[in-house]
Amino acid sequence: MTSHPHPTPSEAGALPGSLLIKGLRKEYRAGQPVLKDISLTIEGRGLTAIIGPSGTGKSTLIRCINRLVDPTAGEIWFGGQDLASLRGAQLRAARRRIGMVFQEYNLVERLSVIENLLCGRLGYVPAWRAFMRRFPDADIARAFELLDAVGLGQDFATRRADQLSGGQRQRVGIARAVMQSPALVLADEPTSSLDPKTSVEIMELLAKVSSDQAVPVIINIHNVELAKRFAQRIIGMSRGAVVFDGPPDALRDDHLREIYGGEGGLA
């Protein structure tokens, strides 16, 4: 139950912080797989972008990793554990090392910014302390630090989350994920609800988080330009399967046609 700065190496001698997905399958309705036996290894560093049209299973894939969605079959090795098989307290202990950033930010609207950040500590702090807002001083100090680090500033601490703009909310969402001292950060379409300029800023912030915290970041994104600009690796998905996997410069128009199905997807 102690928090290591890095998880122990998983099986097969992978790097610390690596994610190993084997034969991952998800069927919301029996016989209709959304994910068709996906196998992937994601190294414990850098920014990985998963691109593909809506409804292709990108979101399901990353939600299987922190088990907001339960996979139908397959293994997800991370930090020496098969996440797919965890339950109860073990699952919660694994989740607290996996930060998640959401498309619609998913901040608790009626809480202040600082309270939203401290939500990131709930895996470490007993519930009664959270009830009484008696978070450890170190956590509160860290939250204030992160407010600056994500470009909001300390004045935002007591503002209620529902008073913020989309870009500001996403910065809070990212800070909440970093508060978890994550060994892995998942981002599900983090820029899809934002304007183009803010989208770039948010991607820059996620890249900064990845390098500053030395933590791998996996981003679902349908904007190919942003993916190519910020990711070191791109995974293209189509109809529940991986159809491209490589560095951004290896991604060609015919790959995009395969991912998005015809010229329409390139627009």
């Binding site: 607290r96 009626r110 009664w128």
Partner: protein, 268 residues
Amino acid sequence: MSVVAASAAPLRTRAFPAQWSARLAWVGLCLYTIYAASLLDVTLARFVQGIENGARFFDRMFPPNLAADKLALLSTGMLESIQIAILSTFFGVLLSLPLGLMAARNLTPGWLSWSARGLIAVLRSFHSVIVAILFVKAVGFGALAGILALIVSTMGFISKLFADAVEEMSMKQVEAVRATGASFFGVLAMGVFPQVMARFIGFATYQLDSNLRNSTMVGLVGGGGIGATLFTAYQRFDYDFVLTILLAIIAIIMAMELVAGRLRRIFQ
């Protein structure tokens, strides 16, 4: 093809298709109301006679009785009613919190939420006066019976409203808190309560108001408070004192409404 076929029907019918089941239900309701009224023998003659009786009764109520001994009776009864209202609201609301959470289908497994909902349905199925009769038999005359009866009705009402409020909250916010590795109670503290607490306090202050009114009623069946005083005054044909009591109840309800509004602002 289908476009051609559809355009054969008049434009209006296509935009607003007839809802025959709703029309049938309305017609049925009207017919039953007429039938029920005919059974109850509601006639104009009886209505006029009733007005005459009412006028005589009203006449005997004036002026309100303000004798010192009556006022002492009034204040004792009133204070007891207020105590009944406050205690039953406090304990009823406190017990509704866990019951309402258990009944919320988006937080608890099916077997638990359905049994909690079953319990709430039982608590709700009897009017507080009927529950008060049961408690008067069980614990004897007096304020305790009234308090227990109103705790039951408070729990029935508040836990259902609270469960519904919890079911309507945004699950996205809860999901995000859950994704941090928070325990169930951690999710409650930071994901659920912030979303529903304001409404819960609204329900509780409304219930305080409503329990004060109900506390005057459980007194009629032996549950203590001003209701008992009122009932005695009726039976002794002290209609002028009845008026004093009724005016006092109106005043206290109005005062309570102000207090409840103030409380709501403090807690939110």
